[in-house]
Every structure is written in structure tokens, then in C-alpha cells.
């Protein structure tokens, strides 16, 4: 299958259910922000993969729980997703305090503590971390680019719009508009390549054209990269459904709850929120439970 960048749910689905207009629109913004967070390894948004377990809007802010297919998923990728989610949510205007929690992972405690303390990658992992994860991210962005490039080339070959011997001269302008091309343009931007119509399609990770004699091998390798990424995504989806939904991927949902009102309780203690309004730590909020959202919508 192809990588499909879809938000967690269609806007119409998200607008259903209780909650104030303000709350509903904030929930949309939260889900849209989370939809910008990619699994770097699988090259798909975490929302579409079902990794967002729950979103809880409350007067003080938002709490998001993330989950992964196994306890032993790579902690560096896990950290990147939690950290990226936190960054994306903090860009939502008026969101209040952002809390992102990773559930059920062997490094949950370490990652959650580091994220809560804004400790950064090095501060979170201490001696196990060396410099940073930029290089790791770049490696997988390059893989994602290779896979997107291969999809475009194969589509062009299948459509008969280009001959094998002319592939080296194929330009972005030659590609038909559509999702496959858009995906390629996004991935080119990610690794710093141009997106002008005159740019060549088949390039290496630095944007250099590929000599004709190397084209077949280069594309063959790109095919392997695409197969690998797609296969991993399927495996991860299957394991996540087995782990959290009894094997039924359609039952894998993101639970969105919204606390619409707070009733000040006499036992309230010090506010722990970063917003102007006070929110008691003990309250009897009326929780509006939204319909569960299907991550595949």
C-alpha cells in the first residue's frame, strides 16, 4: 500500500459530540497538530498509525497519551515522536499546558520524565545519548525520499509517459499532479532539495543526478527501500491492533475527551496550570465523551 498522510479523523467526525464550539475547534486543532507528527521510521503520521491513544482537553490544557506496537520499539524513535508531539501541540494557540505521555514502553518512565522536564534528548537519556538524533532522522528522511521517488518513477513507467532510457532526464514538471507527486515534493523539502518543475526526479540524497549506467541499480535499491518501509508499517499496524484492540484494526481508536466546565471545589489546592484561569486539582468536571475516532478515517 502507499503511505497515506491522513489526519486522525475527518473534520465532520471530529465536530460531532458534545462540547463547546471553542472546545470542538480546539480538539480539531490538537488532532491536526498531532497529524503533523510523523513516525520517522514508517514515514506516516502518528494519527494514521493509531499511535495516539487519547486526547484529553481540560481547562488547564491538554493531555495526550501515545502508544506503540510493542514495549520494545526503538526508544530513540519513541522519543522523537513524543518530543515532536509536544512541540507540535505547543504551537497551538491558547492550548494551555501540554502534557504528552508515552504508555507501555520499556522506557516510558525515562522518556516521560525527560519530556515533562523539558530535558531534551541528552538530558532524557544521559550517558546512552551521544550528540543528538538529527542524523538518525535524516537517514530515514532520505529513505522516505527514495521510496517516494521510486513510486513516482514506477507510476510514470507504468503509465508509459517516460521510457527507461530517458529516466535520467525526467523532471518534476513531467510528473502528473496528485498525491504521489505531492508526497515526493514534501520529502524533497524535508531533505533540502528543490521542488521547481525543472528539477530532475531521479537524484541521490544530495540532489545530484544519477549517471545513466547507475540508474537501474539505484532504482532497484529504492524499490527495496519502499518495500521495506511499507512492510514495516503493515507489521506495526498489525501488532498495534493485536496489542490494543484484540487484533481488530477497525476497533483501534483515539479517545477524545473534553472537560467542558469546572466546578470549583472547596478542597481545591494550588493551581498547577500555566493558564490564567485557575483549575482546582480536585474538581467534579463534567466530561463530555466524544465518539471514538477511527485513526484510519
Amino acid at each position: 500500500m502507499s503511505a497515506v498522510a491522513t489526519p486522525a479523523a475527518s473534520p465532520s467526525t471530529r465536530r460531532r459530540g458534545a462540547g463547546t464550539q471553542h472546545g470542538a475547534s480546539l480538539a480539531n486543532q490538537v488532532l491536526e497538530a498531532l497529524a503533523t507528527v510523523m513516525d520517522p521510521e514508517l514515514d506516516e503520521p502518528i494519527t494514521g498509525l493509531g499511535f495516539v491513544r487519547s486526547v484529553a482537553l481540560h481547562p488547564a490544557g491538554v493531555t495526550v497519551h501515545l502508544r506503540l506496537p510493542t514495549s520494545f520499539c526503538s526508544p530513540n524513535f519513541a522519543y522523537l515522536m513524543v518530543s515532536d508531539a509536544q512541540d507540535a501541540l505547543r504551537r497551538v494557540r491558547g492550548i494551555g499546558r501540554v502534557t504528552v505521555v508515552l504508555d507501555d514502553h520499556h522506557d516510558s518512565d525515562k522518556i516521560n520524565a525527560g519530556i515533562a522536564a523539558d530535558a531534551g534528548y541528552l538530558g532524557t537519556f544521559g550517558a546512552e545519548a551521544e550528540e543528538g538524533l538529527d542524523e538518525l532522522r535524516l537517514i530515514f528522511q532520505r529513505k522516505a525520499h527514495a521510496a517516494a521517488m521510486e513510486r513516482c518513477v514506477m507510476a510514470a513507467l507504468t503509465a508509459g509517459s517516460v521510457r527507461v532510457e530517458h529516466l535520467g532526464r525526467l523532471t518534476l514538471g513531467d510528473l502528473p499532479a496528485g498525491r504521489t507527486k505531492e508526497a515526493l515534493l514534501r520529502r524533497r523539502t524535508d531533505i533540502g532539495l528543490g521542488v521547481a518543475p525543472g528539477e530532475r526526479v531521479v537524484v541521490d540524497e544530495h540532489g545530484e543526478g544519477v549517471p545513466d549506467e547507475e540508474l537501474p541499480l539505484r532504482l532497484r535499491l529504492a524499490t527495496s527501500v519502499r518495500i521495506s518501509i511499507e512492510g514495516n508499517a503493515h507489521f506495526c499496524r498489525g501488532l498495534l491492533a493485536t496489542r490494543y484492540a484484540g487484533g481488530d484494526a477497525s476497533a483501534l481508536t483515539t479517545e477524545v475527551t473534553e472537560t467542558t466546565e469546572t466546578i470549583t471545589d472547596t478542597t481545591s489546592t494550588a493551581s498547577t496550570t500555566s493558564t490564567a484561569s485557575t483549575a482546582p486539582s480536585v474538581s467534579h468536571p463534567r466530561t463530555a465523551r466524544r465518539p471514538k475516532l477511527d485513526p484510519k478515517d
Binding site: 521510521e41 506496537p69 510493542t70 514495549s71 520494545f72 520499539c73 526503538s74 526508544p75 530513540n76 524513535f77 520499556h106 537519556f125 546512552e128 545519548a129 551521544e130 550528540e131 543528538g132 538524533l133 542524523e135 538518525l136 537517514i139 530515514f140 529513505k143 513507467l157 527507461v164 549506467e213 537501474p216 541499480l217 532504482l219 532497484r220 535499491l221 524499490t223 527495496s224 527501500v225 518495500i227 521495506s228 511499507e230 512492510g231 514495516n232 503493515h234 507489521f235 498489525g238 501488532l239 491492533a241 493485536t242 496489542r243 487484533g247
Partner: protein, 348 residues
């Protein structure tokens, strides 16, 4: 032995385990997380009718293993590839004494490979020498993601690993099975990076390196390395069960492996008890690359025979009955396009 449509297949299950993941053996939460992860693999990719209950899965014992592999699973010979996981399990995950006793009782059917951990440094190296003698080791299983005190993984290129591999060469422990789990050290790098296999394969030409689950989830990196290193082989653990849940993906994996490394360097395994061999063998013999996948050559009966058992039999010097061997003519030339031919053209 499995027979279908007049063809006979000698079957080697090159990666089996006798583990104990019961609660009584857990050292901490991670032992529970590990066996649960395995169980999810099992449930997710097995046909419904062969899914075990959780308790059976955590411990099944030698009798059940013999039944599943040899009575019902068509396996002629199986090779233990134990993971130690001493930081997760009181008595380790792979049950050394039990598996060894079973191997001694059935030497014609079982080979026992052991493991080592280079972080045990000199003491471990001394132990490797004793183990090689005691078990008559032909191979070892290395799990580079194993936790060990403060360390959560090692690389094949670490200086101590080199000393262990030098000892393997000297002791005739020539088959190094590498299980690339999610290694945490170094955390900055890709946890499934197979680049260290490339380095040791070059430096230890006398050893065979079998990369389990053919490098998945880094199939492409594995293929790229294996095509350049003649002593790097693909183990099909974990890849096999996709034949049921996602046959087209399985076709792609097999197609890629045949293209890049060829039919002589691929080994079947069920990864027992994550999966059981009976249904895998049956489905593999019936399997064919879908006709619309014209980018891949068909999977021949000869290739299936090599993958199901003859390749591993050769590596482990197993005595294959004469009627299950290939005619001499089919041994040499695989007749398939492999990576060396990639430069000619993939589209022609």
C-alpha cells in the same frame, strides 16, 4: 521431510527455541514485556487455528517441541538458537540444560547452538571455549540488543566481540547467527543498523554470518550488504509467517532476497515457538510469486528445496538422505538474476 506433487523436501528449521517465559522465571517487568511482545507476534501473524493460549506459550517443554517440529511439522533437523536475556529472566530465557539434554537424546534431529556476550570480556571468552567443547558447537546465536547491567546493547565491531569471533574461527564455531533486535546503544543510531555485520563479514572470511529475520525491519540495508559479502546469509525467521497474513508482501521479501543474494544463501526457519513449522512448510511449498509481480522470477522447486533445508544442511554438514538431495546439475547455477546482474537492466 515433506512431500507434495511428487517433490520431496528435506526440512531444516534453522531457528528454534526452548524458552521459559513463565512468571516464576521473570526477573522484572521487562521479562514480562518481552514474552508479551513475542506472544503478540505469534497472535498477529499465525492462522487462527494454530494460535496457542498464553500459558502454553510461556512454557511448552521438550515433549511439545518434539511433537510440533518432528511429528507434525515435517522437520528433519532443527537448530537451537537460544537467547540468554539474563537481565530479564532468573534462569535465562532459552533453557540451556533442557535444550542440551534434548539434543543429546536426539542428536540426529537436533543441533544445539549456544550464545555468548562479549561484555563478559575474558571470563566470557573462557566460558565460550568450555561451551564449544561441551556442546560441540558449530554455531552461536548473538542477540546484539541484549541488556547487560548498565549496557543495553553491543556491536559486532566492539573490540571484545572481535576477540570472541577470533576464538570462534579457531574453535570451528563457524556459523554466527545474528539477531538484530532493537539495540539501544548507541542510542543516536538506528537501532537495527546492520553495518557492523558488513565489517565483521569482511574481517572474518572463515565464518558464516546468518542474519536472522533477513535484517527486517532493514531489509534493504541487509540486501545491500549481503550482496557484497559472500559469507552473509539470510535467515527467514519472522519473515516466513507473512506468507499467511500478507502473501504479496512475502512475495516481495522472497523476491528481493532472491534478486539480491540468490537462492543458495537463504534459510528457512519457523522461529519456533513464535510460530510452528507445519503450516509454514505447507504454505511455502504451495507458494508462488503472483503472476502480476513480473519484476520477480518464479520461485522454483529447486529454490524451495534449498531454502527449506538444503542450504542449512550444507552449512551444518547434515547428512541429507540421497533421495532428498538435488541432482548435481541443479547445484551450481541458480539460473536466477541476482544483484550482480542488476547493472544490466532491471526493466528489460
Amino acid at each position: 521431510m515433506y512431500e507434495k506433487n511428487g517433490e520431496k523436501y528435506y526440512v531444516v528449521d534453522a531457528h528454534v527455541a526452548l524458552w521459559d517465559g513463565r512468571e516464576s522465571n521473570l526477573r522484572n517487568i521487562h521479562g514480562k514485556q518481552f514474552i508479551d511482545c513475542f506472544y503478540d507476534y505469534h497472535k498477529n501473524l499465525s492462522p487462527e487455528e494454530v494460535v496457542w493460549d498464553y500459558d502454553t506459550y510461556t512454557y511448552y517443554g521438550g515433549e511439545r517441541l518434539m511433537k510440533d517440529l518432528f511429528d507434525e511439522g515435517y522437520v528433519d533437523h532443527a537448530i537451537f538458537q537460544p537467547a540468554h536475556l539474563g537481565d530479564f529472566y532468573q534462569n535465562g530465557f532459552g533453557q540451556t540444560e533442557e535444550a542440551w539434554a534434548l539434543t543429546q537424546a536426539h542428536p540426529d534431529k537436533l543441533t544445539y547452538n549456544h550464545n555468548f556476550d562479549p561484555r563478559n570480556e575474558q571470563a566470557g571468552l573462557d566460558q565460550l571455549r568450555r561451551d564449544a567443547e561441551r556442546f560441540g558447537l558449530k554455531g552461536v546465536k548473538l542477540y546484539t540488543a541484549e541488556w547487560h547491567g548498565d549496557s543495553r546493547g553491543y556491536k559486532l565491531t566492539d573490540p571484545w566481540t572481535y576477540k570472541y569471533l577470533e576464538a570462534c574461527e579457531e574453535l570451528g564455531v563457524k556459523n554466527i547467527h545474528i539477531h538484530k533486535g532493537p539495540t539501544i546503544i548507541p542510542l543516536d543510531r538506528d537501532a537495527f543498523d546492520v553495518a557492523d555485520v558488513d565489517a565483521v563479514a569482511t574481517d572474518f572470511q572463515g565464518l558464516n554470518f546468518v542474519v536472522e529475520h533477513c535484517g527486517l525491519p532493514r531489509l534493504e540495508d541487509f540486501c545491500w550488504i549481503a550482496t557484497q559479502e559472500t559469507n552473509v546469509h539470510a535467515g527467514l525467521a519472522v519473515a516466513m509467517p507473512f506468507i499467511h497474513t500478507r502473501p504479496r508482501y512475502f512475495a516481495q521479501i522472497i523476491g528481493e532476497l532472491l534478486y539480491w543474494i540468490g537462492e543458495d544463501k537463504i534459510q528457512f526457519s519457523s522461529d519456533y515457538a513464535i510460530w510452528t513449522p507445519k503450516w509454514l512448510v505447507e504454505k511455502f511449498v504451495d507458494f508462488q510469486i503472483p503472476e502480476d509481480m513480473t519484476e520477480y522470477a518464479p520461485l522454483t522447486a529447486t529454490a524451495k528445496k534449498k531454502i527449506l533445508g538444503l542450504n542449512a544442511a550444507k552449512m551444518y554438514d547434515l547428512d541429507v538422505p540421497a533421495d532428498l538431495r538435488l541432482p548435481e546439475a541443479e547445484l551450481a547455477d541458480p539460473g536466477l538474476e541476482v544483484a550482480a546482474g542488476a547493472k544490466e537492466s532491471v526493466f528489460s
